[in-house]
Symmetry: C2
Subunit: 270 residues, 2 copies
């Protein structure tokens, strides 16, 4: 275990210092990381659409060690796969610990951390509020700017991209947003290179997704690239979910047909 | 409006008294209901998987009047469609108002109602906990039994079917469950006619779904049958979500191809 920690730390140092990093190196690095320490994912608690955060978190959580361990009581899962699964810790970060009513589902959530006592995050997810009159608080905006400036990955889903744009970090970058709010975002934030050609867009360390479920597709892609297709398949089984590729097509998992050529549902839950 | 209320009340009385009800009558009844009064959807708050409840609630909520009204600021939506959209009120019903930590996503939710002060529900959704050691409280069990005995629809997603089975109301009924927990449920509740042939099963007023996203597919079907394909399409646009049919195939929305026969993503967000 000590040796693993050392190898991971060395590899991460090397990767951080290089301009070009190959996908398999990132994959290997994340394999090592999974053995090493929990991955801290954060979300800022304001009145976003509940699915924007729950969808992606529950998806990757379903491929995390905690859930796979629990599920292995009910069904066979290769022990090696569970050992390789990442351990996630999710943080719902409030300005205070006061409960917040989300935009949808009448869900009232209690923050798990405040801006002041939240541990160092590895990844940040910015959910989508009703951007008609939404104003991000200056402290949240500063938190986002610091996270992005540190070179760490930020994800947005739905109108979260407009929230990100309001902090200035999207200026000059390519981004997408829930297509329903596309024209509004284009006018409101003209310095961003908005596109709606694909379900998600990656520009440097900024990943912007379209609507909430497209956000899940984006997380599925990130999870697959980071931990492998076999672990994404396990994650997807938990939710009975089939991810789309970046073009919105169901080509991530192989299609299945019976002997007469009639289509069957995919391999997620045979 | 008074006339509408009267027609709806009469129609509901007639339908309630009949053994066989046709789909178009239910649809018409729900059109009238949408003009009439909010539809109260409830969920019992215990440590279920967050997506089991948020997925279905956010999906139908995205086709509800509140969200469509909000979205119409950003994009054209036919006013007649919005006027026909149902108005939903979601209740998260606790035994007390104390916060509950859900099974996944580290989400801590505050109930909106208690068992004692919750208004009369139209529909109940039972989410899925880790059923290895889960015990439903006697007061929740009684609440479920009363709801089902009143002939009102109960939905389950994921392992919620095992929670329902533990109350006895599934005895002798056909049901499905998240396929990962299928064998466990079959042994634990042998009086239920379990199947995993379809993504969801309807037996009388009991709708059981498979995993969380299959539960969204089930809700999409219910929403379409109740309010029409045009409103389901609007609901799906909000989440950028494509529902599967009962066999797990993406045939609810028409497939799209370009002039060279290359598949495009579906019509949800053209």
């Amino acid at each position: 275990m000590d040796e693993l920690r050392f190898r991971a730390a060395m590899l991460c140092l090397v990767l951080d210092s290089r301009a070009v990093v190959h996908a398999e190196e990132v994959l290997y690095c994340n394999y090592l990381r999974a053995e090493m320490a929990p991955i801290h994912f954060g979300s800022l608690v304001y009145d976003y659409q509940a699915m924007d955060v729950i969808g992606p978190f529950d998806l990757i959580g379903s491929g995390g060690r905690f859930i796979l361990d629990a599920v292995s009581f009910f069904t066979d899962i290769d022990r090696k796969l569970i050992d390789r699964a990442p351990e996630f810790v999710f943080h719902h970060i409030g300005e205070t610990l006061d409960p917040v009513r989300l935009l949808t589902s009448s869900l009232v959530v209690n923050p798990t951390d405040t801006l002041d006592d939240c541990p160092e995050l590895d990844y940040l997810l910015v959910g989508g509020p009703n951007i008609k009159d939404f104003k991000l608080s200056p402290r949240y905006a500063e938190f986002i700017r610091r996270h992005v400036a540190a070179g760490k990955i930020v994800f947005t889903t739905c109108t979260g991209a407009a929230v990100l744009a309001s902090t200035g970090v999207l200026d000059g970058k390519r981004a997408t947003i829930n297509n329903l709010e596309y024209e509004f975002a284009r006018k409101q934030y003209p310095k961003v290179k908005w596109t709606k050609e694909t379900k998600w867009v990656v520009d440097g360390n900024i990943w912007t997704g379209s609507g909430a479920v497209a956000g899940m597709d984006m997380f599925a892609h990130w999870f697959k690239e980071s931990f492998g297709l076999d672990l994404l398949t396990e994650a997807s089984k938990g939710l009975d979910y089939e991810p789309r590729d970046i073009n919105g097509l169901f080509k991530v998992f192989p299609q299945r047909y019976d002997e007469n050529g009639v289509q069957l549902s995919t391999l997620v839950l045979p």
